[in-house]
Amino acid sequence: MIYSEQLPILLMIFPLFAAFAISVTGVFHTRYCYPVAVCALIGSLYTSVGVLFEVLEKGVIHYRLGGWPPPFGIEYVIDYLNGLVLVVVSFVSLGAVIFSKESVKQELPDKIPQFYTLFVLLVTGLLGMTVTGDAFNLYVLLEISALATYALIAMGKGRAMFSSFIYVIMGTLGACFYLLGVGHLYIMTGSLNMGDLYTLMPDLYASHAILVAFLLILVGIWIKMAFFPLHGWLPNAYTYAPTATSCLIAPLMTKVSVYIMIRIMFSTFSPAFVFNTFAAANVIVWMAVAAIIGGSILALAQTDFKKMLTYLIVAEVGYMVGGIWLANRHGITGAILHIVNDALMTLCLFLVVGIIVYKTKGHQFNNMQGLYKKMPITMAAFTIGALSMIGVPPTAGFFSKWYLILGAIDSGQWSFMAALLFSSLVNAVLFFRVIEIGYFEPFADHHGHGHHDGAAIAIDEAPLSMLAPLVVVALSLIILGVYAGYIVTNVIQFAVPAGI
């Protein structure tokens, strides 16, 4: 009984204490870092699944930290929406950490304890942002995850440091905007608790200060999620980051930011304020259209596989933001479903990139020549991920796109529908080009001749610690596709705010 009451905090405790354990044991031995991180994230996944089932069974969970009732203390609130996001975050981070073993050994051999300490701290931050019901607590956790991300990116080689610096500037700006917005809300209401703000604010909706607060928070989150045209920092930062880092941040950072946007829009402010008083939904859907088309076109221009994927992330952010601002049930359902699907699709593709980098030391298109013959399992998983990005049934990507298109039709936003179809077309072109390179072009030895000493890694299937998470994620894309209807009727339809 006590155990189930304490579930919401347990899911944070595992990665937080793992950070200390990794950091301390890392002083003496580096070999314990990886298993501790894996165990902690297994714990998080286990508890977050437990929390989701609690929510499905008993409804919304409130947890008072320090035993103080809100709004005096901080509380955790878990409903259908963040229960689902929690499972996604912990599942993806577990997959990324299992995958990271060989890649970290190869790329960051001197920094293993620091890498895993920051890795679990980042997961702590992401889980905390998802689970909290307090606007200021969210900011503190945003800072933790941001700091950890900056360092994890800067640990890469070459331009990683500079890309991370740009990200530091942009990320700090985003966090400042968010904090300024929350400050405005506090001045106007005297409260920081989201649920409390929701009940206090309706009287103040006419106030300029509240409008400005909403705008500041929104722009802050947009910078964090790289919403076009505020996306400039993302492609380089994610491309030059170490492989194991990008496998964690690429699927999760933007998705958690989208979740935060939903939380702020519907649980702190209300649909009435967001869609009637603020009245900019049309403009924002147009911005989403620009994000989708801009991201897709920029992706077309790349010759670097990893960089191409980062531009697709920018386009996918447009899907979700647009879906939410369509302001109807189908659109929001599609956006929430897409948070789940896109996290897994992106993870799948970045794990493939990780394996290619591990084996061929590069992530250009020509690194992929002839890889279908050399590593069939990896490339089969890649094909599933690619089909899902394009939106081919029965993979998961089809269903969220379907709901988004239904939403666009409901609102009569034909431009958004056209952008979705255009993006699917571009994705098809992009991925079939990659598949063609991998399938038909002969394998080329990029190491040149004369480098075939004992240290060179033969190009064949990746080790089990890399392959296992990839296969699980690829299969889960199909399983998610098959059960998409089940997820929508049992979880997501309760997550869409009432009255829409």
């Binding site: 006590i2 304490q6 405790i13 937080l16 204490f17 950070a19 200390f20 950091s23 301390v24 002083v27 947890y63 008072r64 930290l65 320090g66 035993g67 103080w68 709004p71 005096f72 203390g73 901080i74 001197d110 920094k111 620091q114 890498f115 300490t117 920051l118 701290l121 702590t124 905390g128 307090d134 200021f136 607590n137 503190v140 956790l141 800072e143 933790i144 700091l147 950890a148 900056y150 360092a151 994890l152 800067a154 640990m155 440091m161 300024l180 405005h184 506090y186 001045i187 106007m188 209401t189 005297g190 409260s191 106030s207 300029h208 200060a209 509240i210 409008l211 400005v212 607060a213 500041l216």
Partner: protein, 339 residues
């Protein structure tokens, strides 16, 4: 609030901000920025938020400036100035002016400064003011809000500092080979900046600084101060030693390994007390349940003691991490020679 004083301080703050941006020498920029922080700290104090002023003085004007200076010494003092107006600068100017205007519009709806009827002073503050003693038996309301009512935030703020320490270590720390190490030891014996007067004065200063830091930590329940400020002052005493003597003097007193362990220990004390509460059957960080294991303590006093415990944890963590960050910054990550 004395408006004449405010006017002077605010004018100086704006001047400092302009000077920091426009000055061509980065070292001067860092020092002016320190002055800016000090003026901010005066402003906070003058507005009545003494705790914030204290933190700003210790963190912003104190170690913040030292970190900036160390970074400037390790990189360059020169700045590339581009006087031409290019499109990106123009967009930046437009965006900044737009945000300025938007903020000014919002300002119009704010309650007057220090208005006793403003929502912020009407809604939650009365509860804290009337009930803090009864609920936590800590006279300093700021401490009880920081360490108990919103103790969970403070735990993660400590974790932010911890993450910053690990991040600096992860980015800057460079390993060195054994041979290189021996060479460094042989070459590093000569000392470059031995100054008898400075060293003597600082040697007298350090024990008092540390004593004051301990007072700040222990007295945080009753007066402005607490773990963050005390920890920063403790860390600053080591940084002072490092500046006047050299890196090795400090590393002899606190090795890198101890530094990492202490940094972890500090945050662990905080989170561990939270976990202990959970094990004893209450919610995370609900200190009142500690009365079960503390002899002759009521649940209310247990909250007070719990806060003292976490303040000590914060102080240890902040001290170790400040030293760690400075050591890595000043020695360019190889821990051989400081500034």
């Amino acid at each position: 609030m004395i408006w004449q004083l405010d006017l002077i301080i605010l004018t100086l703050i704006i001047l400092c901000a302009f000077a920091t941006i426009s000055v061509q020498d980065l070292l001067s920029a860092a020092i002016i920025f320190g002055a800016y922080s000090f003026l901010m700290c005066l402003l906070w104090t003058e507005m009545g938020s003494v705790d914030v002023g204290f933190t700003e003085a210790a963190v912003g004007a104190g170690v913040g400036t030292v970190f900036c200076i160390a970074a400037v010494f390790q990189t360059t003092r020169k700045v590339k100035v581009d006087h031409q107006m290019n499109p990106s600068k123009f967009i930046g100017l437009l965006a900044a002016s737009f945000i300025g205007i938007v903020l000014l519009i919002a300002q119009g709806d704010f309650p007057a400064w220090a208005d006793p009827d403003s929502p912020a002073s009407r809604y939650l503050s009365p509860h804290f003011i009337t009930n803090t003693i009864a609920e936590t038996s800590v006279p300093n309301i700021v401490t009880s809000v920081l360490a108990d009512y919103r103790g969970f935030d403070t735990m993660f703020e400590t974790a932010v500092i911890f993450a910053a320490g690990v991040a600096v270590f992860a980015i800057l720390r460079r390993g060195r080979g054994k041979e290189e190490n021996d060479q460094a030891v042989a070459a590093g014996t000569e000392d470059v900046n031995q100054d008898l007067i400075i060293q003597w004065i600082c040697r007298q200063l350090v024990p008092f600084m540390q004593l004051f830091a301990l007072y700040v930590v222990a007295h945080g329940h009753h007066s402005p101060g607490g773990g963050f400020q005390g920890g920063v002052i403790l860390g600053a005493s080591f940084i002072l030693l490092q500046l006047t003597y050299d890196l090795k003097t400090v590393l002899q007193r606190m090795s890198e390994r101890w530094n990492v362990l202490l940094g972890n220990l500090g945050v662990f004390i905080y989170a561990g007390i939270g976990l202990l509460c959970l094990v004893l059957g209450a919610n995370f960080l609900d200190y009142s349940v500690l009365s079960k294991i503390l002899p002759a303590t009521s649940p209310i006093m247990a909250r007070s003691h719990g806060m003292l415990g976490i303040e000590i944890g914060v102080a240890i963590a902040v001290m170790a991490i400040m030293i760690g960050i400075y050591t890595n910054l000043s020695s360019h990550g190889d821990h051989e020679q400081g500034l």
